[in-house]
Amino acid sequence: MLYTEAGQFSTTYRADRRVFRLRQDRIALGTLLAFAVAVVPLIGNDYWFSAILIPFLVLSLAGLGLNLLTGYAGQLSLGSAAFMAAGAFAAYNFNLRIEGLPLLVSFGLGGLVAALLSIVFGLPSLRIKGFYLIVSTLAAQFLIPWVLVKFGWFSNFNASGVITAPPLEIAGYDLSSPGGRYLLTLAVVIALAWLASNIVRSELGRNWMAVRDMDTAAAVIGISLPKAKLLAFGISGFYLGIAGSLWAFTYLGTVEPHGFDLARSFQVLFIIIIGGMGSILGNFLGAAFIVLFPLLLSNLAALLPVGLIDAGQLENIQKMVFGALIIAFLIREPDGLARLWQQFRARARRWPLRY
C-alpha cells in the first residue's frame, strides 16, 4: 500500500526517462541521502566512521568502477587494485609537486592517470575476449605495484615506500577529523555514483550492454567495439583511481603499494558478484556485505568459549564462507543482492494483493 504507484503518470518524456520514476523511491533516496549527509556526522562516532562507513563508501566506489567494466561492458578484470594504487600514487604526486593544487583536482588527475593506464592494459581486449583478459589485467596487477615499490620517486623517496595523505583541506575547511573524512568521501561517492547511473543509461551505457550481451550483434548494428571497450576500461580506471586515492587519503592516511595487492582485486570482484553485476545499487549492497560480514563473524566467534576458535582459524572460516557464498550466489542468484532488493520491491508494490 505504501508502495503503490497508482496515480503517478508521466506526462512528459522527460518525466518518463528519469532514474527514479516512483515518488516513493525519490522520497526514500532523498531521506537516505539527507540522513547520511546531515544526521550521520552528528551521531556517528570515530569507530563507525573509520572502521565501517569510510571503507564501505570507498569499496562501493571501487566496486562501481569494476562493475562498469565487468558488469556493464562484460570485460573481466583482475587488476582493480593496481589501478587503485596508480590513482592513489598519482594523486599523491600531483598534490606534492604542484604547489597549491586543490585536493579534489589532484583526485581527479589521479583518476585520469589510472584511466590512461587502464586503457593501455585494456588494449588486448580488442583482439581477445572472455577470461583471456585476466592475463593482461594481472600483468597490470603485478607490474604497477612493482614499479611503485621499485622507483622511490613515486613515494617521494620515503624510506619504507609509503605515501602519507596531504592535509585534507577544501576551501579552507579542515576535513581531517573522522567526521570530515567521512563527509569528503561521501560527497565524492555520491557525485560519482550519480554520474555512473547517468552513464549507464546513456547511449554509451547501452552500447556497453550490447557489447556484453553479444558483441557480434553489437558490431552489426554499428557500435564501434574498440571505442566502447576502451571507454569502459578508461572510465572504470578513472573510478578505481579515485577510489584508490580515497582509500589512501581518507581511509588509511598512510598506504604502501602492497596494500593494493591481488587480494584487494579479488575483494572488489567479490563485491560485484555478491552485490550484483550490472547494477549501481548492487555495489553498495555488496560493499556493505564485505565490510560487515567479517565483523559479524568475529563477533559471533567472540560469543563462543574462549580458545575454541583462534584468529587464524577465524580467517580460514571466513575464507571458506566467502568462497561458498560466491558459488552460492553464482548458482542461485547470479544478479546478486541487487536482484533480491528488486524482488522485495516488486512484492512491496503489489502488497497486500497477491498479484
Binding site: L126, R127, F142, L143, A324, I327, L330
Partner: protein
C-alpha cells in the same frame, strides 16, 4: 657463454615446474571449457594433506594413496555441488565459481592442517650435477623426468583409452557427446580427479623445493602466462610454454634485471603473455577456434 647456457638450462628446468601446474589447467579446460583457478588451491590442499599424513607417521605410498582418495572425493564434490548446477553457464561465471572454490579449498586446507610451513623430503638431493661441463640441479632433472612421464601417461590416457575418447568427445562437442550416451558427470569427475593427481605430483615437487606452505597456491599465477603462450588446449603447448616462460624469465632476470635493480621475475611472464595475446591470441599450439572479437 657457459654461464648463459647454465642460466638457460636452469630456466628451462624451472619452466618444467610451471608446466606441471599448467597441465592441470589444460586437462580441465579441454574436458569442460572451465578455466580452473582453483588448480593452485588443489596443489596446496594435496601437498598439505600428504605432508601432514607423513608427519603423523603414515608410510609414503599409503599417504599418497590416502591423499589421492581425498582428491577423488573432492572431484566428486566439485562436480556435484559446483559444476552440475552451473552447467551451460558462461565461461566467466564458471571461472568466478572456481575462484570461490579456490577460497574454500585454501581455507579448508589450512583449517584442517594449520598454516605453518612443512618441510618435505622426497629423498632427492638438490645438488648440482655436472653434465658436459655445465652444472645442472639433480632435483630439476628429476622434476623434468616426472613431467615427461606424466605427459606420456596422460597422452596415452587421452588417445588410447575409452575414458580418454569420451573426454575428447566432451571437449569437442558437449551436446553431441551427451547425445551418444556419454555421461557428462562421470567425465567431469574423472577429469577433476586426474587434475587432482597432477596437483598432488605438482604439490610434492614444488613442496620439496619451497616447503609446503600457503604460497604453493600462488603457483597458479605462474601457470597463467604459460597457458597463454602455449595455448589453453594443448598438453604439449603447456610444456613448451613452461619452458619458454622459465627460460625467458631467468634470462631476463640475469641480463635485463640489473638495469632496473632486479625483481622483474614476478611480472615479466605476464608482459610476455600479454604481447603474445596481442600477436598470437591462440598461443603457440592452441586451437584456432578461440573466440575472436
Amino acid at each position: 657463454m657457459d654461464f648463459f647456457f647454465e642460466v638457460l638450462i636452469g630456466g628451462l628446468l624451472s619452466g618444467v615446474m610451471y608446466s606441471l601446474v599448467a597441465i592441470g589447467f589444460v586437462l580441465i579446460y579441454k574436458a569442460s571449457g572451465v578455466f580452473n583457478f582453483a588448480q593452485g588451491a588443489l596443489v596446496l590442499f594435496a601437498a598439505l594433506t600428504f605432508v601432514s599424513l607423513v608427519e603423523r607417521g603414515v608410510a609414503f605410498w599409503l599417504a599418497f594413496g590416502i591423499t589421492m582418495a581425498a582428491m577423488l572425493l573432492l572431484a566428486l564434490g566439485v562436480e556435484r555441488l559446483v559444476l552440475r548446477p552451473l552447467a551451460n553457464r558462461s565461461h566467466i561465471t564458471l571461472f568466478m565459481a572456481t575462484l570461490g572454490l579456490a577460497y574454500i579449498i585454501e581455507g579448508a586446507a589450512q583449517a584442517l592442517w594449520g598454516a605453518q610451513v612443512h618441510g618435505l623430503e622426497l629423498g632427492i638431493e638438490d645438488v648440482p650435477l655436472e653434465v658436459g661441463g655445465l652444472f645442472v640441479s639433480q632435483f630439476d632433472l628429476f622434476a623434468a623426468g616426472t613431467a615427461a612421464t606424466l605427459v606420456l601417461v596422460l597422452s596415452l590416457l587421452f588417445n588410447k583409452t575409452r575414458i580418454g575418447l569420451s573426454l575428447r568427445a566432451v571437449a569437442d562437442d558437449t551436446l553431441a557427446a551427451q547425445a551418444v550416451g556419454i555421461r557428462l558427470p562421470r567425465v567431469w569427475t574423472a577429469v577433476w580427479a586426474v587434475a587432482g593427481l597432477v596437483a598432488l605430483i605438482t604439490g610434492l615437487l614444488w613442496g620439496a623445493r619451497l616447503g609446503v606452505q600457503f604460497s604453493l597456491s600462488l603457483v597458479v599465477l605462474k601457470a597463467l602466462p604459460v597457458l597463454i603462450i602455449g595455448g589453453f588446449s594443448s598438453v604439449g603447448g603447456a610444456i613448451a610454454g613452461g619452458l619458454i616462460v622459465g627460460a625467458s624469465e631467468k634470462l631476463a632476470e640475469i641480463y635485463v634485471g640489473p638495469l632496473v635493480d632486479g625483481g622483474i621475475e614476478n611480472w615479466f611472464p605476464y608482459i610476455l603473455a600479454t604481447l603474445f595475446l596481442l600477436v598470437r591470441p591462440a598461443g603457440l599450439f592452441g586451437e584456432r577456434a578461440i573466440e575472436r572479437v
